[in-house]
Structure formats: structure tokens, C-alpha cells
Amino acid sequence: MVLNAYRLPVGTWVDSAVDWMTDNLEWLFDAVSAFLKALIDGLESGLLWPSALVVVAIVAVLAYIAKGWRFSLLTAASFAVIAMMGLWDEAMSTLSLVLVASSVALLVGIPLGIIAARSDRFSSMLRPVLDLMQTMPSLVYLIPAIVFFGIGKVPGVVATVVFALPPAARLTELGLRQVDPEVVEAGEAFGATPMKILTRVQVPLALPTIMAGVNQVIMLALSMVVIAGMVGAGGLGAVIFRGVTRLDVGLGFEGGLGVVIMAVFLDRITAAFGDRANKRVSH
């Protein structure tokens, strides 16, 4: 076979790129690492500082604001279950990882989506990158993340950001492009600046779609954080990973149940805010 004659050294190329980056961009990785670590640790100790009861009360209130009494009660009960399984610290660790990773993914992804909505060229360059980020098996991201950031929470968060970012950019772009062009023209025809049109017309009208993106980012982040447990990111991921390696079904299930509870809570909360945005727009 002709195609066998030459071995394409893609892996070698990637290796040398990674080597070069470790040699020359160490300062950058160190800075990012320190920043993310401070953020995660700060949030985690903030969540662990009060008694678990206080945190349960807070999430119950959030749930009430988002969806009302029934969901609030369900949330309080399920978070209590996490605490009673003895997984509270791990759950809070996971929650802080998810929140930090999602925030970073949104902070990067939404502006990318905005630029992509305004420039067809940028959009066509961004699309394959996002495709790659989304389809590459998520475990693969862990390898360079460890190389750059060592073991611990930071590589977990970085890999999570890469994996969870695409929907933020994609749905922001989609939402902005779906805004009726005549409405944008109406903004323009009265002499509004591009910034004013973006903030007062396009983003408000695209908000339901952008919120769907936020929801997806958080869900993806949660699923990735579990995988990140393998590289020492701790939290519920570590519990599950322990369960897998020891073939301890009970432990694995407890960890898994914790993840499900978090997922339901985060999903319903963000979806409720998305619905609210939708109602404002579709009078």
C-alpha cells in the first residue's frame, strides 16, 4: 500500500510543539496556574467555610427564585443527601471547579461568538477549531494539561475549559446571527454605535440562545470535571475514580449520585434563567 510507505509523524510534531511550549512559555503557564489555583481554592474554601446547612439553605433559595417551592424543596433534600453520604467536601470541591471552569469558558467563548457573528471570515476560521475541541476525546486534553500544569486541580480546570467552551462560542454566534437583520438596521438607521446596537439590541434578543449555551457549558464542565478527577483534581471525580479502580460499586454509585444531583440543580437553574430571557424577548 502506497500510503503505508511513509509514516506521518503527527505525534512527533505535537510532541515537539508541546516541548517548545514547556520550554518557552513556562512563565505564562505558571501565571495561569497561580491565578486559577487561587480562584478555585478561594471559592472552595468559601463554600466550605459555613456549615453545610447554610449552603443548603442558599441553594434552596436560589432554586426558589429560579423555579419556585417544589424545586426548592427537592434541591434542599438532594443536597442534604450529598452531605449525609459524607461527600459534602468533595461535592463543594467539584462545584467550585465547575463554576471556575464554566466562568472561564464563558468569558472566552462568548466574546469569540460575538466576533464570529460579526465576521464571516473569523467564523469560518473558528468553526473547525471548535469542532476539533468538541470531538477530540476529552481524556486527550488531560495529557498536555498535566505536562503544562502538573497534577492537581489546575490541569483539571484547563482541560475542562477547553472541552466545555465550544457551545458558548457557537450558541452566542447563532443567537446573534438569528436576530432579525431589519431590527439591527433599525438600530443603525437612527445613528446608534455598533457597541450600543450590540448591547441594547443584539445581545438582549440573542439572550435565550446565549443562555442555552451557558447551560450546555455548565453541563459539559460537570461531565469533564469527573474525568479530571483522574489527574488529581479531587472532588466527586476522585471518589468515582476510586470506586472504579477498586471495583467498589457502592462508592462509585455514591459519587455518581452526587454528580447527578449537582447536574440537575445546575441545569434547572440555568434553564430557568434562559426561559426568563426568552419571555422578555418574545412578547
Binding site: G187, A189, F190, G191, S282, H283
Partner: protein
């Protein structure tokens, strides 16, 4: 200084737009240029001026370039070549910030599908232009509310556009455009998305608003009926070029080519033509002081059975029929008296659309009198003339052209006719 001046404007979409303009200027056809340069020439060599207070209509089918042309006027589509002057100011020479200022202060726009902001209330929509201009909130609300009042939406300020019917939504669009006090109003197929009934209601409202506001309006439409009902002058576009520019009468009487002629055939003349456009010189007419014998002589001479009676200043004082005159002569009267009074004579104003002339004409034995606000007799419309014109006969202007009346300017149609549409 004209309100809007468009000079040699070309707008070509595509990478090689400049080359395409050069070819067009060299006399190549649109198809040749499009083929050779892979561009879309949307507007080709448009030049016209629009005077203050005029309703200028651009009419054409979809793809004729009319919507592109109107967007050239506020540079939403900057012309590829040529210039656009608003109040004598060349827009092409402005910086983006200066252009935004012009858009927020001098030109406003109404859109085909309204272009309202669904997430803002009706009042906030109407206030958009003022908000852009950073007018303080209280003043903004007041002026927006005023504009809503003008279009008849006073009670709807806190509703959302989605809660309103199509016609009401477009009123919000109109209020948004009026709130900025811009002199020039661009209306891109503003009524095309509305139901026919709502549509003619909106047309009439626009005309009556225009009487008070005297904006300079550029109205885009694909409907010649609408064009002729609203327009002081009409530019008809085909494949990017303006093929004819003129008043309603000019276009009806002398369509520039077969394309225009095809449109003209479908026009509802009763609605777009006005009394002044078809009226004739009053020949069967007599001064009041001349007496019954003179009237009788005049009737025999003209072979008619009725005369308009006017005073020395040509003001209508009444009408005399043959029965009246014969009775007066028998009774030995030497003055024209016991006539049909001026109020009893069927009469219309010069701007009355022909559709509103039909009933008065049908109910009167005499030709319809066309009088101005002082009751000065401008002309008459014999029933046969009315039928002839409405029958689509283009030759109406041939021998009895109402020359001096149509010269004064066309088809500023109003439905607010003089209130003397009294039927005898």
C-alpha cells in the same frame, strides 16, 4: 437648497464594484457588467433632487434596486460612486461619528417589517432615536409619548410590540421615526406588509400627518396605486435604473416605455387621480350680472341645459338650468335670481380623488364644479369626462388638457376635500 440631492449614484455589490461602475459608465449593460465582473449592480446612475415637504416615491418590482437606493440615502449602503447631499451636506465626506449624528438628527427610517425591538415597550421603541442621541430620560419619554399621540397610539405606551396588530406596530415604527424630529423620512415599503384595508387607512393617515408635519418623505413601494396616491413625484425603477420620473398625471399620460405602461394599466385611476387633474375649463359659465336673456343665449350657443353662475372674481354663486331661465324670462325678470345657490351646486375641491367625485357627479344634472377654498371656480368635470378617465382612456388630456392646473403640481392627493361636497 433641496432637502435631498442624489447625484450620479451607483451602487454595485461585489468585490470588483469599482471596475463594474467604470464599465457601466462606459455604456455597458447591466447584464454584461454583472457577467464580466461577477457583481450585482443594484443602482445605476440615479440622479434626482427632492424638495422640502415633498413626498417622493420610488416605485419598482423586487430586485429593481429601490430598497438599495433608499439605503444609499442614509449610507446604510454607501454608494459605490456618486454623492448624496442632505441639506446640502455631502454625506460621503463625513466621518462615521458625523454620519451617525446625521442619522440620529436629520434622517429617520420606517421599515417594511417594522423593525421594532420586541424586548422594549412601545414607548421605549418610539424613544430609541432620542436615546441614541442621549436626550435625558424625562424629555425622551415626553417626546416619544407625543409622537405616539400623533399616530394615534397614546394609550399603548407600556405594551410590547408583540401585543399589537400589524397596523399598530407600523404606527410605532412611524412614531419612532417622527420622535427624532428628523426632516427626512425614509419609508421602505412601509405599508407593504399590511392588510389592504389597514394599508389604505395608513396611507390616508400619512397624507393627513404630512399636511401638518411637512416632512420630506422618500417612500419606497412596489405598488403603483400606492405610489400615485401618496407621491408628489414618482421615480419608476427597473433593473437598477430610474426609467421615468414625474408626477402621477405625467406618468399616466405618457408612460416612458412598455414597462411603465404595463404598470399604468393596473392603476386604480379613481383613487390616484384628483379632480384638478381631469377638470376642464368651464365654458358653460355666465356672470351673475348678465341677466336671463344672456343666459338663454349662452345655453343655446353651447347647446347645454345648465350654466355655472359666477361673480366678477370668478367665484361660484350658483347655477342656472334651462327651466329656471325660461321661467325667469316669462315672468319678465331682468336679473338672474331664484337660482340654484352655490351650496346646491355639486362641487369638489381640486385635491379630491376621483373616487369621491363619483356620487356628487351622478346625483347632479350639471357638471361637477371644482372650487378652491374661496369657492373660486377652477374648472368643471362633466360626467362624460369622469367616465372617460375612469374607463382607462388615456386620451383624456389630448384636447382638454387642464394645463394651468396640473402645472401647479400634481397629485398631492388629500381625502380632506373642501367640505362643500354638498349634494344638491
Amino acid at each position: 437648497m433641496s432637502a435631498v440631492e442624489v447625484r450620479d449614484v451607483y451602487k454595485v455589490f461585489g468585490a470588483k464594484a469599482d471596475a463594474a461602475v467604470k464599465m457601466l459608465k462606459a455604456g455597458k449593460t447591466r447584464e454584461e457588467v454583472a457577467e464580466a465582473t461577477n457583481t450585482v449592480p443594484a443602482v445605476i446612475d440615479a440622479s434626482f433632487t427632492i424638495e422640502r415637504g415633498e413626498i417622493f416615491v420610488v416605485m419598482g418590482l423586487s430586485g429593481s434596486g429601490k430598497s438599495t437606493l433608499v439605503r444609499c440615502l442614509n449610507l446604510m449602503h454607501p454608494p459605490t460612486s456618486g454623492s448624496v447631499l442632505i441639506d446640502g451636506q455631502d454625506l460621503m465626506s463625513l466621518t462615521p461619528a458625523e454620519l451617525r449624528e446625521v442619522r440620529s438628527e436629520k434622517i429617520s427610517m420606517v421599515f417594511q417589517h417594522f423593525g421594532l425591538f420586541p424586548h422594549r415597550t412601545v414607548l421605549e421603541n418610539a424613544a430609541w432615536g432620542l436615546e441614541v442621541r442621549k436626550v435625558p430620560e424625562a424629555e425622551r419619554r415626553e417626546r416619544a409619548a407625543e409622537a405616539l399621540g400623533l399616530v394615534g397610539l397614546a394609550g399603548w405606551a407600556d405594551s410590547y410590540p408583540g401585543e399589537l396588530s400589524g397596523g399598530m406596530q407600523q404606527r410605532v415604527g412611524l412614531a419612532r421615526a417622527l420622535a427624532t424630529d428628523a426632516d427626512v423620512l425614509l419609508m421602505d415599503e412601509a405599508f407593504s406588509a399590511l392588510d389592504p384595508l389597514i394599508r389604505s387607512e395608513m396611507q390616508e393617515q400619512l397624507v393627513s400627518l404630512q399636511q401638518d408635519l411637512e416632512k420630506t418623505i422618500v417612500f419606497i413601494t412596489h405598488d403603483l396605486n400606492e405610489a400615485m396616491f401618496l407621491g408628489d413625484r414618482i421615480a419608476i425603477m427597473k433593473a437598477g435604473r430610474i426609467v421615468q420620473l414625474g408626477t402621477t398625471e405625467e406618468i399616466l399620460r405618457a408612460p416612458a416605455d412598455d414597462y411603465v405602461r404595463a404598470f399604468v394599466q393596473d392603476v386604480d385611476r379613481s383613487r390616484v387621480l384628483t379632480a384638478s387633474a381631469v377638470m376642464e375649463e368651464p365654458v358653460a359659465m355666465i356672470l351673475r350680472r348678465e341677466g336671463p336673456s344672456a343666459a338663454l343665449r349662452e345655453m343655446r350657443l353651447r347647446q347645454t341645459s345648465g350654466l355655472m353662475v359666477v361673480d366678477e372674481r370668478k367665484r361660484l354663486v350658483g347655477a342656472a338650468t334651462d327651466d329656471d331661465v325660461v321661467r325667469m324670462i316669462r315672468s319678465g325678470a331682468d336679473k338672474l335670481e331664484h337660482l340654484m345657490t352655490a351650496d346646491e351646486v355639486a362641487q369638489v375641491g381640486p385635491d379630491t380623488p376621483l373616487v369621491d367625485c363619483l356620487i356628487p357627479s351622478a346625483e347632479s344634472r350639471l357638471p361637477l364644479a371644482v372650487v378652491d377654498d374661496d369657492r373660486t371656480l377652477l374648472g368643471v368635470i362633466p360626467r362624460v369626462t369622469l367616465l372617460n378617465v375612469l374607463g382607462g382612456n388615456d386620451t383624456n388630456g389630448a384636447e382638454c388638457s387642464p394645463d394651468e392646473t396640473s402645472a401647479e403640481g400634481g397629485a398631492a392627493v388629500t381625502t380632506a376635500a373642501t367640505d362643500g361636497e354638498a349634494v344638491s
